[in-house]
Symmetry: C2
């Protein structure tokens, strides 16, 4: 079971990153949760709660009285302590007993996935640690939390393969639905109905999952599918993913709507599409453990700019998992907003998208998004890559 | 429309609390959002985003390029600035222009609802403010954020009345379903089916919404409905709420299962139930603007202890809104975990539960949960209060 597997993984990560004690400190998680809590607890917690993994291999949870039984029933936490009036005393007692040299806490400027503790909760924790003269022992738990999410187990990858299979099947079906005259909204409705029929969830907010862009004009101007109709000569692209269990997919495909008399896409559309495919292939070939994400982005970005296109205004690819944007390591340029994510090295088990983009003037946007997993020696497709434009007759 | 209404309310709150500038600073809100964001934006944001309300009455949003159009289309934000590589420059430029004396940020030790900023995001903001020599101008936005949630508009109360109506109707139906031999799980399944049939959501996690407890034994020991069967002589209580639109209800009711030959509950059960009802009535009578929440809790707690029962191990009541546990002000004792919530004064528009609890030895738990709204002069029922035990024959 996932929580048991992940808590076992966490124990080993403490040794790997030389941390004595890792605390996930959270309250009212339905309101303001920590994205790491799902790996530690079976549902939401109400009161101040501390989930503590220590170098001694013992796992302790301190939670409000009414949350005790649910946590204890997991069988993952060696000690579960409940309280009625406040967490300060039981938490201080535990920390005094452990006397850790380092205390890893879930905060990070660069990684939202590792930035689970709110500032108010951080202040509360520091107050308790201050009383114990332990405030200077706090470090960021970013390496632990990132590895826990990013190094996917075979079971996690299997669920993601299932999400990808559904996504590809729905893309095949919607290819038969797209025709001149249908609107972006109608295409989105077709996809929503198919997702519902299969009993799946959406990978992100339904209003933009799928995103559907047909024809020329910036994607920024029509963020959600609207009344714009598919026309002959349009490049059309879609972006969506589904949720299977707790895991999601995230894929894009590009279509071309043949003009009267055409039997193939015009040369400039083919060139644009082929450039995207070549960029994805080249990036994938460069992926292996130990390489920094920015190097992979540079491969695809360089290839697209070299072919005469403007560079895409985003990263080449992000990790996928429980969210469409998951993990810390990123295949992106070293822009301010990406902080040190592009400097992180690829590791086996990381699942990435590869999604370069370019505009074909007067036609629309070419962008394909594949999914790959980093292996011990390189990188494998999780999706069946799109190698040809889908032609709409 | 709610966002417009709430941003207008926020402008006035800046004057009321003498704050020059209020910043909601958030990124990847699908992963680690701020509970205040729903009052400011139509959906999730991806990149570092700043929603700034200033004393000059102008509203400004700085968001990632792909989020610009969705925010601009709201018509609530006077200026919407997009960025590609990072927020530091546009945010610094805005702050330099405003030069506010005070900058309110969403953090709070005592109120989870006002504790929206993660510690990593706080560090990023403080770095930017440090470069501007403005770091010492930061204050907690807790008073603004709390008032925004707590002072409910007539439109918000109307939606909550609808949620309460459904809850009461479902309680009436389930009263006809409960009988000796049915299990807690079967009772829960009946409620889930009725919630689904009405197209409503659950007020909190489905696994414990409803909670169903039949007979003697601590609620802590069986947190979710299980295989325990209803027996004659049991006190049975249930706790659930539904979601209508974005707002929820939260109500409890107590049932008594008549023993063979009984036509009324035994004296000790009636005394327990009547004590709960009396505690709720007394607390409600004491509620009016300006009174601290702890004083209301003390009324009910004192009455129950005075009648010879153990005091309930929780607060008398919490606010309800978008979450079952909402708002900052609390009708609770001054326990550590409640921080200064019980010291907050009641204000018109606050919606509270009243939910004392006591155990009738060998029978079960009596606990009724009503919902009330604070008015200009006192307090009104939102629920139709339970005055009699529901007898199951």
């Amino acid at each position: 079971m996932l929580i048991k597997e992940k808590v076992e993984q966490a124990k080993k990560l403490l040794a790997e990153f030389d941390v004595d004690c890792w605390i996930t400190f959270v309250r009212e998680s339905a309101i303001n949760g920590d994205p790491t809590l799902v790996y530690l607890a079976p549902g939401h917690v109400t009161w101040h709660s501390a989930f503590v993994v220590a170098r001694d291999g013992r796992t302790r949870a301190i939670v409000g009285r009414y949350d005790v039984q649910a946590i204890a029933d997991l069988g993952v936490w060696d000690d579960v302590t409940g309280f009625v009036t406040g967490i300060r005393e039981p938490l201080a007692a535990l920390l005094r007993e452990l006397d850790p040299r380092t205390i890893a806490v879930n905060y990070s400027e660069s990684s939202e996935i590792a930035d689970g503790i709110t500032h108010g909760m951080y202040l509360t924790l520091m107050r308790i640690l201050g009383e114990l003269s332990m405030a200077d022992r706090v470090v960021s738990a970013e390496p632990i939390v990132s590895a826990l999410r990013e190094r996917k187990t075979a079971a996690e990858i299997d669920v993601m393969r299932e999400a990808i299979r559904h996504t590809q099947e729905i893309y095949a079906l919607v290819g038969g639905f797209i025709r001149p005259g249908v609107t972006e909204s109608e295409i989105a409705a077709f996809v929503h109905a198919e997702i519902a029929r299969r009993g799946l969830g959406h990978a992100w907010e339904e209003a933009t999952c799928p995103a559907v862009f047909t024809g020329p004009g910036g994607a920024e101007a029509h963020y959600a599918p609207g009344a714009r109709q598919v026309e002959r000569g349009h490049v059309l692209n879609m972006d969506f993913g589904v949720k299977v269990g707790a895991y999601v997919s995230d894929m894009q495909r590009t279509f071309y709507v043949l003009a009267e008399g055409e039997t193939a896409a015009p040369a400039e559309v083919r060139k644009g599409f082929d450039t995207i495919v070549a960029a994805i292939e080249a990036a994938k070939r460069a992926m292996r453990p130990g390489v920094e994400g920015r190097a992979i982005d540079a491969v695809a970005r360089g290839l697209i700019v070299g072919a005469g296109y403007e560079e895409y205004p985003h990263a080449l690819g992000h990790q996928v998992g429980r969210f469409a944007h998951d993990g810390t390591a990123l295949l992106g340029p070293t822009w301010e907003k990406y902080a040190d994510k592009p400097l992180k090295k690829l590791q086996p088990g990381m699942v990435f998208t590869l999604e370069p983009r370019l505009t074909v003037a007067g036609r629309g946007i070419c962008t394909v998004e594949e999914m790959v997993v980093v292996t011990e020696t390189g990188c494998e497709w999780l999706s069946d890559p799109q190698r040809e434009l889908v032609l709409i007759r």
